[in-house]
Amino acid sequence: MSDQNKYTCNEYRQEMILLSLRLRLNKENLPESEKELIQKQIQQIEIAMDMI
């Protein structure tokens, strides 16, 4: 199976969620607690996506 064939709706969804979380993380005046939560979520997605 080629890499292109492995790219499905699931990978697309993960990428979009990751993108939106990173955008939220860059928002100004974000409370520290929310920032930590977002960072945790980003880390989980990155692990699932084999990025780290």
Binding site: Q4, N5, Y7, T8, C9, N10, E11, R13, A48
Partner: protein, 222 residues
Amino acid sequence: MEIICNNCNSKLSIAEDKLPKGKAASIRCPKCKTKITVDLRNRPENSTAAGTAKPNSFNFDEGDDDYDASEKPFDFLEEEGNTALICENDPEIIKQINIVLGIMDYSVTTAESVRDALKKMKYHSYNMMLINETFDGSDPDANGILVYVERLSMDVRRNIFVGLLTQRYATMDNMSAFLKSVNIVINSKDIGSIDRIISRGINEYELFYAAYKDSAKKVGIV
């Protein structure tokens, strides 16, 4: 016993005695966390052959590989003809959809069951699929056709407009559509306006892919 994860192709070795004999068991792939079902019901005891792993218990069984021309959903289609597959239980809703898609010049086939739908998809790439999330008695969160569509490679999937018929989500709820990997959500109570809903959905779908398709054409991908 050796099991291969269908999602990430990781090879897992599991001791035979850890698996229940004559039963189906579920495990999670340690790498990608996909649920793998190991079905030992039809496996002879003391067999050393590798087991069969089925992610999320879905066995996309669209029948055997023998070619049977009578199973093809269409005998002949105009080159530019659009096709649609309806996976719905309610005959009244099927009738309404048929009328609307007929006006929109779609050649329509109706699936009798999940197995029948998968068989039809084996022979034909549809332009549109309208799937009721409870079709053929499916669990709405584990509908076999939706899972199959979700796992289609992107080069195939992007050519299919998929509509989800549901009672749980609001019509044109984009976040639900995103989560369910469909192009549009249609609540069953809005079935009377399905012509306008589908038209709008198709317009948005074409707009979404317009830049990609133009670029792909220019570089000769399609």
